[in-house]
C-alpha cells in the first residue's frame, strides 16, 4: 500500500516538475507547481508529518501559488514565451549538463551509502506518531525553538514592509536627470 502511494505521488511530483519547466504559459507552470506541491503533501502524510502536510497545502498551494498567479495576471505576462529561441548559445545544453551532474553527485552518494542513511537515533527530540504530530511540533516550537520562532516573526514583518515599500510608486524621482533618461529608454522600447 505504502509502495503504491509512494510511486503514484512520485509520478505526480515529477510530472508536475517537468510541466513547470516545459510550459510556455506561466499560468500553466503555476498550475503544474500546484500538482507538485500536492504530491509533496501526500509524501508528508506518508511520512506521518501531518501538520506539515496541512501547512504545505495551505501555505504553498494556497498562498504562494495564489501570489504567483496574482503577479502573472497583474503584469499581463501571460503571453507565451517562445521556448525554441535560445538567447545565449550553448546555455541549454550547459544547463542540462549542470542539472545532470548535480543529480549524478547525489546519486553517487546514495549508491555509496549502501544500507541507507546512517546516524544516531534521536535522544531528546523524538518523533511521536501521526496523531500526536501537531502537538509535539507545537511544543518544540514554543519551548526549545522559541527564539527561532520570534526571529521568524521579525523576518515576516520585514518581508511585508519590504514588499509594500517596493510596490509603492515613488512620488518624485530621486535624481531627475536619471529618471528622464530611463523614461526615454522605456519609450524607445515601447515603440519596438
Amino acid at each position: 500500500m505504502e509502495t503504491v502511494v509512494f510511486l503514484i505521488s512520485a509520478a505526480v511530483i515529477l510530472s508536475g516538475a517537468l510541466g513547470v519547466i516545459f510550459s510556455k504559459n506561466p499560468v500553466h507552470s503555476a498550475l503544474f507547481m500546484v500538482q507538485t506541491l500536492f504530491g509533496v503533501a501526500v509524501l508528508f502524510v506518508l511520512l506521518e508529518a501531518t501538520f506539515l502536510a496541512a501547512i504545505q497545502v495551505i501555505v504553498y498551494a494556497g498562498a504562494i501559488v495564489i501570489l504567483f498567479v496574482f503577479v502573472i495576471t497583474l503584469l499581463g505576462v501571460d503571453r507565451a514565451e517562445d521556448l525554441k529561441v535560445e538567447p545565449i548559445s550553448g546555455q541549454r545544453p550547459l544547463a542540462v549538463v549542470i542539472g545532470a551532474s548535480i543529480f549524478g553527485i547525489i546519486l553517487t552518494v546514495l549508491i555509496l551509502a549502501v544500507g541507507g542513511p546512517t546516524g544516531e537515533q534521536a535522544a531528546n527530540n523524538p518523533l511521536g506518531n501521526a496523531t500526536d504530530n501537531t502537538r509535539i511540533l507545537g511544543e518544540a516550537l514554543f519551548s526549545t525553538q522559541v527564539f527561532s520562532v520570534e526571529l521568524t516573526a521579525l523576518l515576516l514583518t520585514v518581508a511585508v514592509v519590504g514588499a509594500v515599500v517596493l510596490s509603492t510608486r515613488p512620488t518624485k524621482p530621486l535624481i531627475s536627470s536619471l529618471d528622464e533618461k530611463q523614461n526615454e529608454t522605456v519609450e524607445e522600447e515601447g515603440g519596438e
Binding site: 511520512l47 506539515l52 504567483f68 545532470a100 547525489i106 523524538p126 522605456v186
Partner: protein, 101 residues
Amino acid sequence: MIITTTWYLLLAAILFSIGTTGLLVRRNPLIMFMCIELMLNAVNITFVSIGSHLNDLGGQLAVFFVLVVAAAEVVIGLALVVAIMRRRSRTNADDLKILGG
C-alpha cells in the same frame, strides 16, 4: 518492493535536479522563482524523510522554518519583479543586464 528512506532521497535528488535545470534554462523570472520553490520542496522531502528515518523531530522543525523563509522570499522576489516590470514592459532575466551600467 519496500519503500526505504533511500527512495525518498532519490526522488528528492531528481526533483532538485529538475529545479536546477529549469532555473538555468528559463528566462521568465516568475518561472525561475517556481523552480526555486521546486528545489526547496526537494530539500523539504529530504528533511522529513531523514527525520522520520532517525525518529527525530528536528527535520520537521527545519521544514517549518524553510516554509516561512520561502514565503518571505517569494513576497520580496515578486515585489521586485513588479517594480522592474513597471519600468520595463518585458520581463526577462537577460534584460536585467542593464544593471551592469
